[in-house]
Symmetry: C2
Subunit: 146 residues, 2 copies
DNA sequence: CCCCGAACGTTAGTCGCACTAACGTTAGTT
DNA sequence: AACTAACGTTAGTGCGACTAACGTTCGGGG
């Protein structure tokens, strides 16, 4: 059982999840915050739905996440007057700062996670996971990442 | 962000988790059932605590899981009269059958998950994940897997 | 021998993430 | 003008991981 890739993947992911949670939680954040702030920081403002497509977060969860981030002063909702259905979500200076904190935390997490692997192996792993990720992402969510 | 190993790992794990959930759910089971039944089938009867150590399931969750499996007729609790604190958990014939069903489901899941990888890559991946798993398992839970 | 700490099973509850269903509003399309 | 699709929102579900507390039982040391 312990050599089944799905077992290894989910178990390793469990450890990874633990590390990620701890890492982010120690700075008072969580995965969704990291994903959203980083996406806004790197790829710029967009609608909530667009953000959801970028980050793989469901619209319903997006609402809650943005409520939190907004309450913390990290993001802003402004009406898109060319389309009254949507908000334009943008990141504040404080949000950028936070995004960088969380990125730093993410890097530390990498190190802890990949500790037993040398550089070669790390590249192998990222390549393989990238392949899996790319494959399974196909045909899955609403693709247009506006 | 998309080349961060932790991002890839957690995202890939998300897909894996989806496939696993779907795969098991389609047969009316879940991950905990698979873990527990397989452990009992492969490594024989033990106490609840022992089972928890084998499978990485918390005692509190073990209780619920065994209640379910017992209600379904897949496992049995018998008193360990040499130690009145514990139950001896064993698997029933129906449970063995179920374990095999779930194992078959797990294999199908493997195929779906690893579809984009050739044999070589699959071995690489298992090796790398195994390394990570082995490393992070150290110093984590109560080790004696009685 | 008794006491105390550890292990066992159990109940209850929390958290993060993923996901579904339904609703009102607004934009396009036909 | 009517219909469909997209948007944001509310509410609720499921699974896995985890914490806290409690009563019972076992084992070892004073």
């Amino acid at each position: 059982m312990e050599q089944l890739p799905s077992w290894l993947l989910t178990q390793t992911a469990a450890f990874a999840g633990r590390l990620v949670s701890e890492g982010f939680a120690s700075t008072g954040g969580r995965g969704y915050h990291y994903r959203v702030l980083t996406s806004l920081h790197v790829d710029g403002p967009t609608s909530q739905a667009g953000l959801g497509r970028r980050t793989g977060i469901f619209p319903s969860d997006m609402v809650a996440t943005l409520n939190e981030l907004q309450a913390l002063g990290f993001t802003m909702r402004s009406v898109d007057k060319s389309d009254k259905r949507r908000y334009l979500i943008s990141i504040t200076p404080a949000g950028v700062e936070r995004a960088e904190e969380l990125s730093a935390a993410a890097e530390k997490i990498q190190d802890a996670l990949l500790a037993p692997l040398d550089d070669d192996e790390r590249h192998q792993l990222t390549a393989l996971l990238g392949k899996l990720y790319a494959h399974h992402r196909q045909g899955f969510p609403p693709l247009p990442m506006t």
